[in-house]
């Protein structure tokens, strides 16, 4: 990581403050980031599916579809 870049901005009360600029490294990625590779056991995968991708099949339903009576 190169040296940090700072930017001067005005605070809500008008005082000038130094804020940290972008901290990413410049350049293009040379491959894709396979985030699913982190789910390396069946247990982790199933937990992920139940919480992140399949919550909409939950028996209680979810969000705006939550109902008092069954459809």
């Amino acid at each position: 990581m190169s040296e940090y870049i700072y930017d001067e901005k005005e605070r809500f009360d008008g005082e000038k403050v130094k804020v940290l600029g972008p901290t990413y490294e410049e350049g293009k990625p040379d491959g894709s980031y396979d985030w699913k590779a982190r789910l390396d056991t069946r247990e982790l995968t199933v937990n992920y599916l139940r919480s992140a991708l399949r919550y909409w099949y939950s028996k209680d339903w979810f969000g705006s579809e939550r109902r008092k009576k069954d459809a």
Binding site: S32, W35, T45, Y48, Y57, G63, E65
Partner: protein, 648 residues
């Protein structure tokens, strides 16, 4: 002197059209000048379903009372509805036959009988297995895959019941479809029923014909296409963001150029693997080339671009122009959207055109049928053929210096992950930003190119107008490629082209304002993304409540109509450009453009001007926002203690 006709907004296309003109090579652009559309055919007012006709039923002149009917008495409404329904059936058949091929290959891969194929995405396999109600506890991946493959195959020939994936739609939408009796049974059954009902002397009530066309289209979107997308993801990997390059400038003068064109990703996947083989690389060098340059064209390109970052040479109307460069050693074509004119262009150069599907041959082209059990061997054979052809280049080679960086691969799963991470994956940030008004709404802009409009112009004009007005755009197919060429598929585009609200969100998440979601078969990803927004909460309880719209400003294929119809039947306002295939009948057009809103809470619209069309979409988004009580942008306020005390 007559003003020179502008044919494309893309520089590479214009440059190669100039070369083609100079070298007197026929392309779709020039052929379009020579063939004008039939004025009766363009309105779909011609009935050809029996041999007593064709019966031409042009619109009555103003003030004319005469009611025109065909020999059998068929009214213009019946004729127009039949033609419309048949196009939808053809589009559904195309996507679903692609899907069937995917399922059969998937089964072979699961059984270890498909050379070079495997189950790459186990997470998605488990996810889809759960969709199909397959027990996954304690089972081997291979066994789950085999069971899934068999169940998925059943979806095509099922005679009764409902398609499994109908269960993925929002509950309210499912209820509406059931009430209207349009839930698809088996994919094939719905296509066949459209063909039967539109046969001479069968269904003669236009609303009833359109109803079956709707059921058929739903079988495409929530059936064939969705199955295809999911199983391809399992076999080849669910797309994740990847950097790629686009436009004809990706072809290389000093390498063996192989272009994959069509829609099925099987052979392109294996060509990608085979092109990395050291033996193949060595052969290429021996032939005097620096290496093998694999590039995609049309939706085959989208598939390998999203999964491997393989460069994309261009969209539908650029297929012949890729060969006009004189630098393509070999082009493979499988199914859908390949022009027969390719062979004539190939014959002007050294290019070998290879047809690879058992469903499609082109006269004069080399036919090498792809079979998954020997797929990798065939991929190597094709590359060797291309290498052998490299020294045969003749005539002038000209590759336009036009290629742009793009970021692609925004599958539903990846958007879910990007917005919330692995621990808290969800569409919440998107919904929140729609609610607070930073994002006004979401538009799916998809579809083909059409030589009757200036190539890519309508896509770009519409999409720029949408993002300028803070509408996040999801795109697929040739529309996505137009965006790539225009520089809209990079995160930097947010600051340059998007409104302040959308730009802020894009910068926070690190995404472009236009998200490339895949090939045209992957419009099913748009349905799932919209459903995820409903399920997340806060934006109503049906797809028709969302500030979400659809468009295909440069459509030309029957698949686009099937896609549009399933968008509309799913509750999404959808606008098409270029031409509209029911103008022959006011009643049918009114049914689709007005009465459909009452029935499906979504409707069609037609607007040739892409900017006006964008404003139609924006006003529809605003209408939905108003209905949700979101007409004014709301800033998120962090309350301090004093403000809290005031509340009490």
């Amino acid at each position: 002197m007559a003003e020179e006709k502008k044919r494309s907004i893309d520089k590479a296309t214009e440059e190669l059209l100039e070369k083609a003109e100079k070298e007197q090579i026929s392309t779709a652009f020039f052929r379009a000048d020579e063939i004008r559309p039939c004025p009766i055919g363009v309105e779909e007012s011609c009935c050809k379903v029996c041999s007593m006709g064709p019966c031409r039923l042009p619109r009555s002149k103003k003030g004319e009372e005469k009611r025109r009917v065909g020999v059998c008495g068929a009214t213009i409404e019946t004729v127009v509805a039949r033609n419309f329904a048949r196009k939808i059936a053809a589009g559904t058949a195309a996507h679903s036959d692609h899907a069937r091929e995917v399922v059969e290959t998937f089964l072979k891969a699961a059984l270890g009988q498909a050379q070079g194929f495997e189950i790459k995405d186990e997470v998605k396999l488990l996810e889809v297995a759960l969709d199909f109600n397959i027990e996954i506890e304690g089972k081997e991946i291979k066994d789950i895959a085999v069971e899934l493959g068999r169940k998925a195959l059943d979806e095509f020939g099922k005679q009764h019941g409902e398609l499994v994936y109908i269960g993925k739609a929002p509950l309210k939408r499912q209820e509406l479809w059931r009430r209207l009796g349009v839930v698809p049974r088996g994919v094939d059954r719905e296509v066949v029923e459209v063909m039967h009902r539109t046969h001479m002397g069968v269904d003669q009530d236009y609303t009833h014909i359109i109803e079956q066309a709707t059921r058929c289209a739903l079988a495409d979107g929530w059936g064939g296409s969705m199955i295809s997308t999911d199983l391809q993801d399992i076999m080849f990997g669910t797309p994740v963001p990847v950097v790629g390059k686009i436009n004809l400038g990706v072809l290389k003068e000093d390498e063996v150029n192989v272009v994959v064109h069509g829609h099925e990703p099987f052979l392109p996947e294996l060509l990608a693997a085979a092109s990395r083989d050291p033996e193949i690389k060595k052969l290429a060098e021996k032939a005097g080339a620096k290496g093998i340059n694999l590039a995609g064209m049309c939706c085959s390109a989208n598939e390998v671009l999203m999964r491997h970052g393989i460069p994309c040479a261009g969209n539908f109307l650029q297929q012949e122009l890729a060969l006009v460069t004189g630098a393509v050693e070999l082009m493979t074509v499988d199914v859908q959207c390949q022009m027969q004119g390719l062979q004539d262009v190939a014959a002007c150069f050294h290019t070998k055109l290879v047809t690879t599907s058992d469903r499609a041959k082109i006269e004069g082209a080399v036919h090498m049928e792809f079979h998954p059990d020997s797929g990798l061997d065939m991929a190597k054979k094709i590359l060797k053929m291309a290498i052998e052809n490299y020294p045969n280049r003749r005539g002038s080679v000209y590759i336009p210096d036009q290629a742009r960086d793009i970021v692609v691969g925004f599958s539903h799963e990846t958007i879910n992950y990007l917005l919330g991470g692995l621990f808290r994956a969800s569409y919440r940030p998107l919904n929140d930003n729609i609610i607070n008004g930073r994002i006004r709404g979401v538009a799916g802009v998809v579809g083909c190119n059409n030589v009757r409009t200036v190539h890519d112009s309508a896509h770009i004009a519409m999409i720029k107008e949408l993002i300028k007005n803070d509408v996040l755009v999801l795109t697929t197919g040739c529309a996505a490629m137009a965006c790539g060429k225009e520089g809209l598929l990079t995160p930097e585009a947010a600051r340059e082209f998007a409104g302040d609200g959308l730009a802020e969100v894009c910068e926070a998440v690190g995404i472009p304002p236009v998200l490339h979601m895949g090939a045209c078969v992957d419009n099913s990803r748009l349905l799932i993304a919209a459903t995820a927004m409903v399920k997340e909460g806060g934006l109503g309880d049906d797809l028709s409540d969302l500030p979400v719209v659809g468009a295909a400003p440069e459509w030309m294929s029957e698949k686009a109509l099937a896609i549009g119809q399933y968008f509309v039947a799913s509750g999404v306002f959808t606008v098409f450009g270029t031409t509209w295939p029911t103008v022959g009948s006011e009643k049918v057009t009114r049914h689709l453009f007005e009465e459909f809103e009452e029935i499906y809470k979504g409707m069609w619209a037609y607007e040739e001007d892409p900017v006006k069309a964008a404003h139609l979409m924006i006003s529809q988004i605003d209408k939905k926002r108003k209905a949700l009580g979101l007409e004014k942008a709301r800033e998120r306020v962090l309350f301090d203690m004093a403000m809290r005390r005031e509340l009490a």
